[in-house]
């Protein structure tokens, strides 16, 4: 039991687990039920509606992953993030990112991780990046980081000062479901952090300080209707804790890293892939996030999305690294796809901004 608990506090990489290897993950996603024809591959599926190759539209979102270090070890994490991860973006790479941000046509900058706040240059980077006049500047904060250590206590004020749009994970409005997925004590810390954000005006009706929450299922099933979940979550958080927020994004768990590991270990993998394929919605394909965003990794490499980054599927373009960044060249590419992409086209679709079709 103790051994099992300790295992849960370490990343796959630290445990030297088979699925720490991205290539192995792609193999699993390409073999079995997809190789024997039981289920169509994603390429075959989108070809049915003439959407192959998948091509980008106008670039709207620059998503920068500033490092895989995190204070939490969530069971479903596609990044395999945790306190033991050492991949952290250097200031030198951040300076290159700042050059890109100054010249990009994208209207949204989206910082993610790990816990982006744990990057030692995080604040300096936010201060510099916010001068570039990007319309929507998102930081994906796991909430507990705000209460993890005294040095982070002032984060709500820091976010407010730079008009940061805070997007935070809150998998459920009950303690039990939240702690099971994200770790013991996460619910209480998250509630405290949300209350502090509310005190600064975040999430209040008519407030320009945006606070959105992210819901993702606590197991091998798809998220329910985003609007209904938002209604439930709003009512419950308001009644129980007097907490307010703006929107809820319902995100599907993609079969990558720790979630893939969980699916296989719990013998849910095939059933889950069936669910994703059965819920395939061709209307969602044209709006998936890889069509309007670019993901930059901690070491400056470019990917179609954060999921492809974790599977180490780089952009199919001459421009591979932020050193050679060229938005026009980059936008003329075919998007790299595999079976994990079914996660973004299931039902109403899924992206970092929640569902993609009304």
């Amino acid at each position: 039991m103790i051994k099992e608990k300790k295992k849960k506090q370490q990343s796959l990489q630290k445990r030297d687990a088979e699925l720490a290897n991205a290539k192995r993950q792609v193999e699993i996603l390409s073999n079995g039920i997809f190789a024997n024809g039981e289920l169509p591959t994603f390429a075959q599926k989108i070809k049915e509606t003439n959407q192959l190759p998948l091509r980008p539209k106008k670039l709207e979102i620059l998503q920068i992953n500033v490092g895989y270090m995190c204070n939490q070890v969530c069971e479903h994490c596609h990044v395999d993030a945790g306190p033991d991860r050492q991949e952290i973006m250097t200031w030198e790479t951040m300076e290159q990112c700042l050059e890109v941000i100054k010249n990009t046509g994208a209207h949204t900058l989206d910082l993610t991780g790990g816990a982006p706040e744990m990057n030692p240059h995080f604040r300096r980077f936010v201060e510099e990046a916010s001068k570039a006049g990007i319309k929507d500047f998102i930081v994906r904060s796991n909430l507990t980081i705000i209460r993890a250590n005294k040095k982070y206590y002032d984060l709500p004020d820091f976010f407010k000062k730079h008009n940061i749009h805070v997007v935070s994970s809150m998998p459920h409005w009950t303690r039990g479901k939240t702690d099971k997925q994200r770790g013991e004590g996460v619910f209480d810390l998250s509630i405290k952090a949300l209350q502090e954000l509310n005190e600064r005006g975040y999430g209040m009706p008519d407030s320009g300080l945006r606070l959105d929450l992210v819901y993702n299922p606590n197991g091998a099933y798809l998220p329910g209707d985003q609007a209904s979940m938002e209604k439930e979550m709003k009512a419950a958080l308001l009644e129980d804790f007097d907490i307010r927020f703006h929107n809820l994004f319902a995100i599907t768990n993609l079969p990558i890293a720790r979630f893939l590991d969980y699916l296989i270990a719990s013998e849910n993998y095939e059933d889950y892939m069936y669910q994703l394929v059965e819920a395939y919605n061709p209307a969602a394909v044209s709006n998936v996030m890889c069509t309007n965003s670019i993901s930059i990794s901690w070491d400056g490499f470019l990917y179609d999305c954060d999921f492809n980054q974790m599977l180490k599927l780089p952009v199919a373009s001459k421009v591979k690294h932020i050193n050679d960044y060229n938005e026009d060249l980059l936008n003329d590419r075919n998007i790299m796809i595999s079976q994990h992409c079914y996660g973004c086209t299931a039902g109403a679709g899924s992206s970092c901004q929640g569902t993609v079709v009304d």
């Binding site: 459920h172 409005w173 009950t174 197991g219 099933y221 209707d225 209904s228 069936y274 059965e278």
Partner: protein, 112 residues
């Protein structure tokens, strides 16, 4: 391929195929089924919980599989799911017991 079991979880995925042997009736059924579960005077979530309770009273493994997943997707907690099943169980046992009054009536009629 026929399986060696009366119930096979994989058969749930074939449910839609019932239309293949009777298209008109199958389609009518699925249209009706889909409509019933739409948001109406009851929310889709309330309907899913009713379906979960009935799935148990009907003891339909396919329905239990489907509506356990469905209620989880809608954010229903384990406690709420179990309470719904108790409602079904209470009605089932109540329905058995209330028939005891028939037995009592009959005994009272027959005995001197």
């Amino acid at each position: 391929m026929a399986s060696n079991n009366y119930y096979d979880p994989a058969d749930l995925r074939k449910f839609g195929k019932i239309t293949e042997w009777s298209e008109e009736l199958g389609n009518k059924f699925f249209d009706y089924y889909g409509k019933v579960f739409e948001e109406g005077a009851l929310t889709a979530r309330e309907k899913a919980l009713i379906a979960l309770a009935v799935a148990h009273t009907e003891q339909c493994p396919y329905c239990i599989d489907a509506y356990t997943k469905d209620t989880l997707q809608r954010g229903v907690t384990k406690e709420q799911m179990m309470e719904a099943i108790h409602v079904g169980a209470a009605i089932k046992s109540g329905a058995t017991l209330v028939h005891g009054t028939m037995m009592m009536n009959k005994v009272n009629k027959l005995e001197m």
